[in-house]
Symmetry: D2
Subunit: 334 residues, 4 copies
């Protein structure tokens, strides 16, 4: 029996998820869609085998023929819809961020704990990227010894005008904050932010260099360049006692042409992390089928990423190193 999924939000991310559920994930059935713009949902439905177009998100969540809910509506709806799914006892895949405030994150965790069952998966897709996955496996195998440093680079081709330095931290850097926790298995203890000079392409933002210090003493350097112009580029090197392991972006061909020999850089995260998105949904579907929590980011992970991002915003404003108080994960999440 296929797992029947309802997708809430039919914008770019929601459409991509819906398409994967329809064509690229085993054991899934795209059973319903919803968007506040009903026509947009309707267009998507016609393109993907005519799943039902349910007119309210609440109705979709409550529907008896829906086994799991994928939340890809606007960021401000995430917390409310996730709480509704928990109340309905249904697995919820929530696009990042989990919530707009730390307080909402805590409410979601409280609801989940009260319900006694882990139902929330936060869409930090990089955890399913084969490269990050292999880096973590390499570290766990132990050949390279203990992790000392991590270098992360995150470059967007060109950011829309409304993106400010604050949003660069909250929307882009948050991916690095989560992946650093995922790779190093240590919470962050402090954060510093050093702003670079504005590129001539930038409007209200600058490249940022972020330094994270983990509870265990490891140091993470992060470059966030919102306007790299040449393309979308994510790099990562994990430096251990006996060696290092680096991400190799997934290029399948190289070209020699017009005096150059090399590879084509990606346009955006959707092509770069195509496999990660597919594998993430596949794991989520299998976890529902098997009745166990997803191996992806939990509500606790989403909360930690948001805590670090909030500290990062303070560090950006004050130009000071900001300490992040230690917080113990509830046993429910460990």
């Amino acid at each position: 029996m296929s797992i029947r999924i309802g997708v809430i939000g039919c914008g770019v991310m929601g459409s991509d998820h819906a398409e994967l559920l329809h064509r690229g994930v085993a054991g899934a059935q795209l059973a319903a869609v919803h968007d506040f713009d009903a026509e947009r949902a309707s267009v998507l439905s016609r393109r993907l085998g005519n799943p039902r177009n349910i007119e309210s998100a609440e109705a979709l969540i409550a529907d008896r023929d829906i086994d799991g809910v994928l939340i890809a509506a606007s960021d401000d709806t995430h917390a409310g819809l996730t709480l509704a799914a928990i109340a309905a006892g249904k697995p919820a895949f929530c696009e990042k961020p989990l919530a707009a405030t730390l307080e909402e994150c805590r409410q979601i965790m409280a609801a989940e704990i009260a319900g006694g069952r882990r139902l929330v998966h936060v869409g930090f897709m990089r955890r399913f990227d084969p490269g990050y996955h292999a880096m973590r496996a390499e570290l766990q195998e132990g050949l390279l010894g203990r992790a000392l440093l991590l270098h992360c680079i995150h470059r967007n081709k060109i950011a829309p005008d409304y993106i400010t330095s604050d949003l660069v931290i909250a929307n882009s850097a948050v991916h690095e904050m989560d992946i650093a926790r995922f790779l190093l298995k240590e919470d962050h203890a402090a954060i510093s932010v050093i702003s670079g000079p504005a590129s001539r392409y930038a409007v209200a933002r600058q490249p940022q260099v972020i330094i994270l210090e983990t509870c265990g003493g490891a140091v993470v350097t992060v470059e966030i360049s919102p306007d790299a112009v040449y393309g979308y580029d994510v790099q990562c090197e994990l430096v251990c006692e006996d060696g290092t392991v680096s991400l190799v972006p997934p290029h399948v061909i190289s070209r020699r042409y017009d005096g150059h020999d090399g590879i084509a850089v990606e346009e955006d995260w959707r092509t770069r992390f195509r496999d990660a998105y597919r594998l993430q949904l596949q794991e989520w579907i299998v976890s529902i089928r098997d009745g166990r929590p997803s191996r992806g980011a939990s509500a606790w992970d989403g909360y930690q990423a948001s805590r670090t991002a909030e500290a990062g915003l303070a560090a950006l404003r004050t130009r000071q190193r900001v300490v992040i108080p230690a917080e113990q994960a509830p046993p429910f999440y460990s």
Copy 2:
């Protein structure tokens, strides 16, 4: 509705295909398995969600609840089972080679043509490898101009003792023969084989250098090294008038360790072409659902690969360049 597949042959390849149908392909259902060793089929069934274990291949093909047949039994059974599937009007995915003789290939094509419907997909998975796929797209886009030369390298880690130079041509080189036709879209007109010296690891075989000349005048060089020892390695460079395009093996991490900086070579074709196998099955399932021929290798393609391989065996024996007579594809296949 899922497409219900029966898998005939539960050895290494059959098991891999069955697992993909069960876990990695959207819209498929592993509905039945069969093996001449019923216990082996039974073990596989228990591991993959308990599809029916049908005791004869003929019964599986005839079964009304089976929508498509995947043939991965021993090479000598391919032709007979494929003919049976055609007789039953069912889509057949046949592992390469399509048949043991050219005469059998012709019988299969005749049966398919008589039935009026393309039902056969031959398992040349490389056509679905993202790298080869991108190389072909690059050529089609036209930026690089006309194709002039193609360089192919195919190295196995170490071949089993029973592999002879004849089998190196028939089993390994046949992949290069097919992919060269796929990339260049031209049939082969001549073949030469030059044997290298035996490695100390080889028993009854040697590395082979093969030169293919296409109808259109392009030249293909092929290295087949059955005992490369360091790993499984497939390389390819397409040389065009204005530039070249090369395969980048799909490595997701690189490592700096113990004086070295680089990537880990694959162990065998199953890991190297994991994505190709998955994407191939996905296309086959979609083609059944949509009631159209698969975009993979057809019976005609399988026949052409076998014709070139047979000429290659003659070239190996005689140490002469062997001309391959031109043969026009029936309209049914073009």
Copy 3:
């Protein structure tokens, strides 16, 4: 006519320089050597064509048949010997650091200015590395736009026991401080140092992450890993508005062996920067022949590197960002 050079100090660096002057540099003649251990100088002399072994550094500097002096004795002698060369009106190639204190650096500049002629070349050889040289040329060409960020990585295989974190800043990081000024053409305005966890191989030191901010607002990240174990490795990426340019370590072969595909990492800086050392000496010899200042690092450059290193030591101790006061280069040096 060859330029006759006297080498003071016949340890590792002095011997390497002497050998290059004897065998690898056009227009040079290794005319004399000196070491406080006369026997060591004698051994080197016999190996390299029997230049004179002069028993005091002062006599060597004063000798009428010596056209230039290369100072590679212990660090504490650099300032005194350089001042003696200036007093004798002879070009001096001084291994880095230029002096043990900032005060001595200022004395050297004062003497040089008083003499009215630029005579001092500080041995920051990286400025002659073909890679860094090409990076700078790329920036100057302007295609990539303005420089925003610079990422530097400097890893030693394993440091001797006496190396402390202070020495890691003063001896290793100083190369990055100089090359950042060379590439960006901007002085440093502030420095922060974040210490990583001690590797199990380290005795009294840790990897360091250093953040430099330049007068123009560019940000430089530096990793210094004194105990990288896998080898000696220097990396650099310059991030500009329209693209980035990275150092490619000079490997001439790659190897596929035993499951790996890649290159061999260098053992130490002497092999990694072999070309840089040769090209540096070649430029120095040509500058003497042509009677003009060398294009290498000047006394002013040596002084700036030392100023930043000193601020770095303060940042290491205080764990605070340390501001480096702006200082205008005397017209003599610009």
Copy 4:
């Protein structure tokens, strides 16, 4: 004392050699130049420190103040000038080819043997390329086992109109023939040539695929593309029993720009083999100073390359495999 060299021929190659002797080689003195166009020699002399401009090649060879002769005049003069240098008892560096005919090669060897002293160095500069050098050292170390196959690729950006397929063999492929002997230390036993289709850029030539078989059974594949358009590109992979070693073209930076990530391809052989040319001349100068034969290609090596090239021309014309009769090197050359 510097070794005083006279350069005959002030065209592109002669000028490059002269400049290296003047600026880039230790222990050398550019003492004289000659060109049949005296004005051209005069211009070069003024640019490179005013060595004498000697009006006849014969006078230059005979001059008592010339220690060695570098022959870079037109190909048809090579044999005569080399014989004159041998007669004068002077070391001769002869640009490839050694002579226009095999008969002339034999005369040169006879003269050298009669004189009792090895005086001829043939300018196969690739033997001094750090990459090829390291490949050979790797093979000699033995870790990779016996050599089985060698793949060579030689691409020119665009050939002048007068270059025909014959000249592609004689002028370009001859480098591969020599380097294959150098790497494998085995003479060639047979050669086949397969012509590819003409590129639209070609006038009277085509890319060629050449197969060499060595006395020891190794197989060499060679691609010669005279009109590769995208740049000058030389690749090489040596396949041994336990692994392979490949040339890494000497790029010092890579660039991320405008959707691409990679390196810039060379324009021609002069930049690609800059180090090889320098190191070749350095070895030649040292060999003269030390009174021993140069370690570069000997007259025997030049003769062998020409023998293979001549067989290649026959193979090109006849489209047949051409056997190259074994010939034993005189003891004088081994």
